[in-house]
């Protein structure tokens, strides 16, 4: 997907951005230059040994902390929402250090979609099973769970398998979809050219009226 969508639209914007930055009278190595344009990535990336080594060292601990916050939400501050966000932040860190496109290739789309959809389905299922058994939505004590306390472990399942997976999946997905930006493929060509030229509908209408 990333390779397919990369070609024309994206490279065009990079070039135009590069020219804007290049003609600016201030220093060409300013921060905006590094943040805005990196030809081979199309997304901000500066390869840094310091950042890569730090992320390599820190990310396992950060992921462990995110899992702890998720799994230990019943006994300490935290829960699925916070833990899922921390787990997604680990992916952000890896992308920050090793490049977004490299991380994109490493992380399959099925994983991200599976986390988000699976979490929503698990939460809905835990809520609806008691309804099917004649109770209320999310009435945990009706859950048919053998050996374990259905209330405690039902809540843990909602937090861990429901909320944490939705949040981590959606946040990771938002990160990558924002990084790849607006997809011009399939847009009407006249719309694209009008947007590039900065013409508005009103301008175009006036132009046509003047011609006729």
């Amino acid at each position: 997907m990333s390779d397919a969508s990369e070609p024309d639209g994206r490279r065009e914007t990079i070039d135009s951005e590069g020219r804007v930055d290049g003609t600016s009278p201030t220093s060409p190595t300013s921060r905006s230059d590094r943040l805005g344009t990196t030809p081979q990535q199309g997304t901000p990336y500066t390869e840094s040994q310091v950042i890569m080594s730090t992320v390599k060292f820190v990310s396992p601990f950060a992921l462990t902390y995110g899992l702890f916050v998720t799994f230990h939400g019943g006994g300490s501050p935290g829960g699925g929402f916070q833990g899922g966000a921390i787990a997604a932040a680990v992916v952000f860190m890896i992308a920050f250090a090793f490049g977004i496109d490299a991380t994109r290739r490493w992380l399959a789309n099925a994983v991200v979609v599976g986390l988000a959809v699976g979490g929503a389905l698990v939460f809905a299922a835990i809520g609806l099973v008691p309804v099917a058994l004649g109770g209320a939505f999310l009435q945990y004590d009706l859950l048919p769970v053998p050996l374990l306390d259905p209330v405690k472990y039902g809540m843990e399942a909602v937090e861990i398998l429901g909320i944490a997976t939705i949040v981590s999946g959606v946040l990771t997905g938002l990160f990558f979809v924002l990084a790849s930006g607006f997809n011009r493929d399939g847009l009407d060509e006249s719309v694209v050219s009008r947007q590039v030229n900065g013409d508005t509908d009103a301008d175009r209408g006036a132009h046509e009226r003047g011609e006729s």
């Binding site: 997907m1 990333s2 969508s5 951005e17 600016s24 921060r31 905006s32 943040l35 805005g36 997304t43 901000p44 916050v69 939400g73 019943g74 006994g75 501050p77 829960g79 929402f81 916070q82 966000a85 921390i86 997604a88 932040a89 994109r104 992380l107 789309n109 991200v112 979609v113 988000a116 979490g119 929503a120 939460f123 809905a124 809520g127 939505f137 999310l138 945990y140 209330v151 405690k152 809540m155 909602v158 937090e159 909320i163 939705i166 949040v167 999946g169 959606v170 946040l171 990771t172 997905g173 938002l174 990160f175 990558f176 979809v177 924002l178 790849s180 930006g181 607006f182 997809n183 399939g186």
Partner: protein
């Protein structure tokens, strides 16, 4: 808020059983000043990149404040979502658009806008006198034991988890949380539709 806390502390001094009415500690005061300054800097910064970075610092200051006010669950969320994820997403969006270089660091103040914001501030500040002080025994949280105390004392017996916040979120108000989770899920789908993408990665 600082003033209200101080006066209530004096008023509560005569009460024999005084729970910990929080005095404004130096760390707390400096955090409050930090939050206000970063909020002002976010509003006034001319450069969007600078505004985003200062906004991240503001969120981190708020997270530290929440820890002081004994709301670690909220603090965790503020630190992870506002300071971390939102800042990264805003920076990514900036990187995909053009950013104009500015000579001046700060925007010149728009006086009508400042007057409107000032009026709103004064209106809100007038209401703080009626807000109970942090830890005050008169706060509705304590003066209404039938509700608050029930959750604090019965949560473990009813649900089997120690964290009352999580019990409220996942059990007592579970249907609301299901709605929130679906909102997050819908946000992912909305981003795909708006950006005309078919896959996330």
């Amino acid at each position: 808020m600082i003033g209200a806390t101080a006066t209530s502390a004096i008023a509560a001094a005569g009460v024999p059983v005084t729970p910990t009415v929080a005095q404004v500690t130096p760390i707390e005061a400096s955090l409050l000043v930090f939050v206000v300054l970063t909020a002002l800097a976010t509003a006034l910064a001319r450069d969007v990149l600078a505004a985003v970075i200062v906004f991240g610092a503001y969120s981190l200051g708020m997270a530290a404040l929440y820890v002081f006010y004994r709301a670690p669950d909220v603090a965790l969320t503020e630190a992870a979502i506002s300071a971390g994820v939102t800042t990264v997403l805003l920076l990514l969006t900036l990187a995909k658009t053009t950013r104009i270089e500015h000579e001046a660091a700060f925007e010149s103040v728009n006086y009508p806008a400042a007057a409107a914001a000032g009026l709103l501030f004064v209106g809100l500040a007038l209401t703080t006198a009626d807000i109970p002080a942090v830890g005050s025994p008169d706060a509705p949280v304590w003066s209404n034991p039938d509700v608050t105390q029930w959750y604090l004392s019965e949560t473990y017996a009813v649900t089997g988890v120690e964290n009352t916040v999580m019990a409220v979120l996942a059990a007592f108000r579970g249907f609301d949380t299901f709605g929130e989770a679906v909102v997050v899920f819908a946000a992912g789908i909305a981003a795909l539709i708006v950006l005309r993408q078919e896959v996330f990665t």
